[in-house]
């Protein structure tokens, strides 16, 4: 279970060019947007592509992202229950 969270952190750091951060800097419960990591709407699009590319999850409604991309824990829970690959 923790492997998925570590894998997610690594993917987010690479995909979103968060060069300043390491896996250890991101807490599983940190907010990804706003006061947490400070991601923005373009990052949200990158995360949607990441979900589909790496886990076969296609978000048909972009508003779903608001519920899924809250934190690493929330993303991991969603991936565990919806992944097709």
């Amino acid at each position: 279970m923790s492997d998925l969270r570590t894998e997610l952190k690594q993917s987010i750091i690479v995909q979103l060019n968060l060069e300043e951060l390491t896996i250890e800097d991101i807490d599983n419960n940190d907010s990804l947007f706003g006061d947490g990591l400070g991601l923005d709407s373009i990052d949200a699009l990158e995360l949607i592509v990441l979900l589909e590319k790496d886990y076969g999850i296609k978000l048909t409604d972009p508003n779903q992202g608001k519920e899924i991309f809250i934190s690493i824990n929330k993303m991991a829970e969603y991936i565990e229950s919806h992944r097709t690959k």
Binding site: Q15, L16, N17, L18, E19, E20, G38, I42, L45, E46, V49, E52, K53
Partner: protein
């Protein structure tokens, strides 16, 4: 009558630094493709904004901030950018993703940033500047086109306090190396400082960003007057000489009135013939300088020569590494920059000491 326009702030990022050129310790490169010397971008751009920027954007925005700081301006009235090939690194990344992912699941960042006007847009967003913002992309005449527009704008609206004009181009892994295939780059790897002694076709290349703050008001720290900019077509070296003489005449000068002529020689045997002709016909008694052995050849590289000219006016010093002949120039007042943009397209920029 055209307004007098002054350069009141400069910002430059290139393969050389002011220190390296003027202390005669030019940086030596042994590959025909070399990168610009990056400043600490984090001093100019917030880390979260920096992470998504390709090098062209980082260099462009940082050069802008250097120029604004130098001119003591917070917010420009206009941003005019020249770029020959835009953000090549993101273009490559996007095209690579299209191939590897079979045109599916493409991420937005590299697509957004692969457009040529991204640099100008990012500068405006970062500064919060909602003024005039235009990008010119005409290969080796891109910066000159931007300069011509800035002159027109300041003549139309002379009260503008700050018109930022500049050029930016970056190297990328694949697109830049295509220059070995199409003859743009020399086939054998050479040391940059020996560029003019290799009598072969092709040149060397690099990258950079050069921005200048322009205004119609002469400030006590103005670097130079941007007297005139022009681009023209000419078929033969004789016609080039005639066009340059006409250009000077329109600005009440003769070739012999020039203190310095900055030539865009790039070591390509074919192209340098045109410069050689000018050196021996209309400028034999003028101090002749060259710069592309330091900067490399790229689409907006005349920004490097403008930057050097501003520093020559300011420092009253001409580094030996730039000199093509032994004609002295102790107190230069008029500098002409001539660049061959293509086989038939040419540009001239006239700068005067303020």
């Amino acid at each position: 009558m055209s307004r007098t326009i002054y350069i009141t702030g400069i910002g430059a990022i290139s393969a050389q630094t002011e220190e390296s050129v003027f202390s005669e310790k030019s940086v030596v490169y042994t590959s025909n493709i070399f990168q610009a010397i990056s400043p600490n971008f984090k001093e100019y751009i917030p880390a979260m904004a920096l992470r998504r920027m390709s090098k062209a954007i980082k260099m462009g925005l940082t050069a802008v901030k250097m120029a604004l700081q130098d001119a003591n301006v917070e917010l420009p009235d206009a941003i005019i950018t020249g770029t020959g090939e835009g953000c090549k690194q993101d273009t490559e990344k996007f095209l690579g993703s299209m191939l590897s992912q079979e045109e599916d699941l493409l991420t937005p960042t590299s697509f957004i940033q692969s457009t040529h006007n991204t640099v100008g847009g990012q500068i405006a967003l970062n500064l919060g500047c909602s003024g005039y913002n235009v990008t010119y992309s005409q290969e080796r005449a891109s910066l000159e086109s931007a300069l011509i527009d800035s002159v027109l704008l300041l003549n139309e609206k002379p009260s503008l306090n700050s018109v930022l004009v500049g050029g930016v181009d970056e190297v990328s892994n694949k697109i830049t190396s295509f220059g070995y295939l199409n003859g743009f780059l020399k086939q054998e790897e050479i040391e940059n400082l020996s560029l003019f002694s290799h009598k072969s076709e092709g040149t060397i290349t690099s990258e950079g960003a050069f921005f200048f703050n322009l205004t119609t008001e002469n400030k006590k720290d103005s670097y130079a007057q941007l007297k005139a900019v022009s681009s023209f077509n000419a078929e033969s070296p004789i016609e080039v000489s005639e066009k340059i003489t006409e250009f000077l005449s329109r600005n009440s000068l003769r070739p012999k009135d020039l203190d310095i002529v900055f030539l865009g020689k790039n070591g390509d045997l074919d192209q340098d013939k045109v410069y050689d002709e000018l050196q021996y016909t209309i400028f034999p008694k003028t101090c002749q300088l060259a710069y592309k052995h330091l900067s490399g050849e790229f689409n907006t590289v005349t920004g490097f020569a403008i930057w050097l000219s501003c520093l020559i006016f300011r420092r009253q010093q001409i580094p030996d590494i730039l000199k093509l002949n032994a004609v002295p120039s102790s107190n230069p007042k008029n500098i002409l920059l001539y660049n061959l943009a293509s086989n038939t397209s040419h540009s001239v920029i006239l700068l005067q000491k303020p």
